[in-house]
């Protein structure tokens, strides 16, 4: 990224108290603990269990898989944004020396008309099927058309170029407004709009239009003294994980399929692949390899069915690995959005009405996460009159995937700027204004649920009291902004097994892909129950044959739900240990008490380790499993305080100081909680200032490298201060809410508010890159 360095230097660290050497290495801000108790293991910072493997290069990621006889594949992708596939001739490719097989959609069983669970929701099988290998039409540039297996990746690539595909290019729609216009080319002939929950016969690119309402917003606006209405757009951006997608498949001679892949959900890969290939789930084993980032983008199935088909055709294992261009053009991204927001408030600062219309670009297939956008957009506020309209619109871009609080960041970019503007018009401090209207327990969210205990107010209070908020900010073209964000988090399903070893340690078996230290945060919850150290638990993420069903690592659910399963399994171990202790102590099992790994009865006691060592004398191995489908999900609020400096000559925005505040319920491992907050903030900053799919006139992405798709480097960012707020979630044994997602929601809005504060211009489109900011300054908008 050498070309980017010169323009960035010396700007990142010189202000806001972050000068070199001022801060000692590893200094942590004190956390705000409100309602949780102290624990022995939960809340400490042990070294992660998979750490040594990951700093020595020994950890095996998907692309590292090697098996004897392995063939390498290459996926041929559509050069057109929208085209009819007239014919595909693979004969020349098949004749090339070193080529073993070619597959196209014709090799897949035809998609039946059914609904499939794809990890964080349901969709039509035809859409998943069509995205894996295009059938009849290609719907975006980068759409997979055929796959080749050959002796090397170079031969496979050479062969792919020999596949003769005759296309008939069609007109395309690249944005939601284009796709919604009356004369827009239709992506799917059979797509009819579902309006207000009813299937219409209207053929359109609008897959869904629905509305949520509370009260009467017209009446609410009538009571308002100030009303602000603005419209906002956000560009398509990518999750940007560093590890490209990959899949290795072996269709064994007994008909069983083994897949090694980098995924957020091994069971989703198993189930979706089985459905597409029309084989029973029991015939597929998915081994989740280490995963090099996901952020939601590694929930969908892309390569696995094609790899399996190639293996079936060749009788050999086949590995497919995407290039970076494939990743950008063929996976993810998060939808571009068009959001209008209207908010009214009375002079006393009470919000009287809120309205929003959200149209999100789903990409090639329906399912843009506009619904979560609508659920989250006003979730930080208590208001009696709210109306939210959502449009899910297909366009000729890659089929969108979840990206960290999917849908919520776009929504917050719009809502939090209007909130800021109203606070300004009323002459109320922006945090005070939010506190005055903050959502609390008992308040109803626009889509229906009533909030249980939430930490919205506490996050705002922490922001207001943070030294950053009162620190002086001087100098021209500098400004400070704040914003809030919400993500509801999910529960889904998890399984865990604990096996006690004779040396007093415990093997923990779980099925949640570990993307950021969750082996450890899950192990810590078991250790807490058992009264042993985190280091005495040996957590393993295993394949789909070896653990009970476990949903995706997504929705900020892993530490919450799989941790809960570990907690429950550990409770069962404690129960069994009491029985074993009773034998050793010659006491009645009901009389045995347990405290911190020591089992006592009748004045005598025996330690966990001793019971483990003597287990064969007291009844054999000690083991327990638990499964959960938790209902006590607790949403998470995140807030940012950000200082920026705008260069009026170039429009470049530098982040001078950034503070991330978040209610996580309970921080099981505070270092990795801070890491999530910092990582989400950095992604939000990239989304705010740089990242964007530049779409050319041909409907293709013009910036499909990591040089031109510009994600933040270390030089672009300051240290990111974190302030963990812990408002215990009453729905979890340790009060956990989940931390992974809400933190990406506020940064673009907070930065926009800071730019407004710095130069008096309100940016209504993302990214707020130098040309955009320069034009806003020059043109007054």
């Amino acid at each position: 990224m050498s070309t980017t360095i010169d323009s960035m230097q010396t700007k990142t660290s010189r202000n806001g108290g972050f000068a070199n050497g001022v801060r000692p290495p590893a200094a942590y801000e004190p956390n705000i603990v409100l309602a949780t108790r102290a624990y022995d293991v939960v809340g400490t910072r042990p070294v992660r269990h998979d750490g040594a493997d990951k700093v020595t290069g020994r950890a095996l990621y998907g692309a590292d898989k090697q098996i004897a006889g392995l063939l390498h594949g290459f996926v041929l992708r559509s050069p057109y944004a929208h085209a009819k596939i007239v014919s595909i001739d693979t004969s020349k490719a098949e004749e090339l020396d070193g080529v073993f097989a070619v597959v196209t959609a014709a090799d897949l069983p035809p998609a039946r008309d059914k609904i499939v669970d794809v990890g964080e929701g349901d969709t039509r099988l035809a859409y998943v099927h069509g995205n894996v290998l295009a059938s009849g039409k290609t719907l975006y540039k980068g759409h997979a058309v055929a796959a080749v297996a050959a002796s090397s990746v170079h031969v496979a690539e050479q062969a792919a170029k020999l596949i003769d595909v005759e296309y008939e290019p069609l007109g395309s729609s690249m944005t939601a407004p284009q796709a919604m216009s009356a004369d827009a080319p239709l992506l799917h002939d059979d797509l009819k709009t579902v309006e207000y929950g009813r299937q219409t016969d209207k053929a359109s690119n609008v897959a869904q239009h629905f509305q949520w309402k509370i009260g009467n917003s017209d009446e609410g606006f009538a009571k308002a003294d100030v009303v602000v209405e603005r419209a906002f757009d956000t560009a398509t951006v990518h999750q940007g994980y560093i590890e490209p997608h990959n899949a290795t498949a072996l269709w064994n001679n007994d008909g069983r399929v083994h897949i090694w892949t980098s995924t957020q959900g091994a069971f989703v890969v198993r189930d979706v692949t089985a459905t597409i290939l029309e084989i029973p789930v029991s015939q597929i084993k998915v081994t989740p390899m280490e995963i090099g980032g996901g952020f939601g983008g590694k929930i969908p199935v892309y390569l696995e069915p094609a790899a399996a088909l190639l293996s079936k055709k060749t009788g050999r294992p086949v590995k497919l690995v995407m290039s970076r261009a494939d990743v950008l053009e063929g996976t993810g991204p998060t939808p571009g959005s068009h959001v209008s927001v209207k908010i009214g408030a009375a002079k006393d600062g009470k919000i009287t009405a809120m309205e929003s219309v959200l149209a999100y670009e789903a990409g090639a297939y329906p399912g843009s996460f506009v619904a979560p956008g609508g659920m989250c957009i006003f979730a930080a506020y208590a208001c009696e009159n709210i109306s939210v309209d959502c449009y899910d619109v297909v366009v000729n871009k890659p089929s969108s995937a979840a990206y960290r609080a999917p849908g919520a960041t776009q929504a917050a970019f719009a809502a939090e700027q209007v909130i800021d503007e109203i606070a300004g018009k009323l002459g109320i401090d922006p945090i005070e204004f939010r506190m005055q209207n903050a959502a609390k327990e008992g308040v109803r969210r626009v889509d229906g649920p009533k909030f249980r205990r939430i930490g919205c107010f506490e996050v705002l209070e922490a922001m207001k009291n943070h030294p950053h908020y009162s620190a002086p900010l001087e100098g021209p073209n500098r400004g400070r902004g704040v914003a809030m964000g919400f993500w509801f988090n999910v529960g889904l399903e998890s399984s865990c097994t604990l096996n006690v070893n004779s040396d007093g340690t415990v093997n923990l078996i779980e099925g949640s892909t570990d993307i950021g230290g969750t082996r450890t945060s899950i192990a810590m919850q078991a250790a807490e129950v058992l009264g042993i150290s985190a280091e005495d638990i040996n957590p393993q993420v295993v394949d789909t044959d070896s653990v009970g069903y476990t949903s995706v690592t997504g929705g900020s659910r892993t530490t919450f739900a799989t941790g809960w399963a570990a907690h429950d399994a550990a409770q069962k171990i404690v129960g069994e240990m009491k029985c074993r202790a009773a034998q050793l102590l010659e006491a009645d099992a009901a009389a045995v008490t347990h405290e911190k790994g020591v089992y006592s009865a009748g004045g005598k006691s025996v330690a966990f380790r001793e019971i483990a060592a003597k287990s064969s004398r007291t009844g054999g191995p000690i083991s327990a499993s638990a499964t959960v489908k938790p209902r006590g999900v607790g949403g998470s609020y995140a807030g940012n305080i950000v200082d920026v400096e705008v260069d009026p000559e170039t429009g470049k925005v530098d982040i001078l100081r950034f503070t991330a505040v978040q209610d996580v319920g309970k921080a099981v491992h505070p270092s990795y909680v801070e890491g999530q907050m910092q990582g989400g903030s950095a992604q939000g900053i990239g989304w705010a200032l740089n990242e964007e799919y530049f779409m050319g006139a041909d409907g293709g992405m013009q910036n499909n490298t990591l040089l031109d798709y510009r994600m933040p480097t270390s030089l672009d960012l300051p240290m990111i201060d974190t302030c963990i707020v812990e408002v215990a979630n009453p729905g979890h044994p340790y009060g956990v809410r989940g931390v992974g997602e809400a933190n990406i929601v506020p940064p673009p809005a907070a930065i926009a508010n800071a730019i407004q504060n710095a130069v008096g211009r309100r940016l209504q489109r993302l990214p707020m890159n130098p040309p955009a900011v320069w034009h806003a300054i020059a043109n007054g908008n």
Partner: protein, 161 residues
């Protein structure tokens, strides 16, 4: 395609391999030598995940041809740890929680080692400047920078003892 014989040194051991002229050093390390600790993130020199040390300089191994390794001294992530223990940089990364998914970590550690060899006491800005070739999408770099500072501190203490 005809293969070329290459003699080189990887992690202080003399190594001989055959590779096609079109194969990158990254491919050779991973596929021919089984050194999969060096990661591919972009294959065009923009992410730093494949960073290795070659004749004392850090290079993206995806932009070096395998045949260019002839006569070179190459150090990969597999050559950083000392014996069965860990290098101070590796320890600092673990204690400082400087990794989440870990796929960029080998590149960061190789780059950090080179930085601290030539500048044992870098400022925050110098660390950020040097590591700007290495993309991390998980951490926001905060804990990486702090861990590099911590490792530098410990390595300086080691030298002065």
């Amino acid at each position: 395609m005809k293969k070329t014989q290459v003699q080189t040194t990887i992690n202080s051991r003399p190594v001989e391999f055959l590779c096609e002229p079109r194969q990158s050093l990254l491919e050779v390390l991973r596929d021919n030598r089984g050194l999969t600790g060096t990661k591919e993130g972009c294959n065009d020199g923009n992410c730093g995940a494949c960073t290795v040390e070659m004749d004392g300089r850090i290079v993206p191994s995806c932009l070096v041809l395998g045949v260019e390794a002839e006569g070179a001294q190459i150090v990969t992530i597999e050559g950083i740890a000392v014996g069965s223990g860990l290098h101070e940089i590796q320890k600092a990364f673990l204690e400082g929680a400087a990794l989440q998914c870990g796929v960029c970590t080998p590149g960061f550690i190789v780059a950090t080692k080179a930085l601290l060899q030539q500048n044992p006491n870098p400022t925050e800005h110098e660390i950020r400047f040097w590591l700007a070739n290495n993309l991390c999408r998980c951490t926001g770099y905060d804990k990486i920078v702090r861990s590099v500072q911590a490792a530098a501190c410990r390595l300086r203490e080691e030298v002065s003892v």
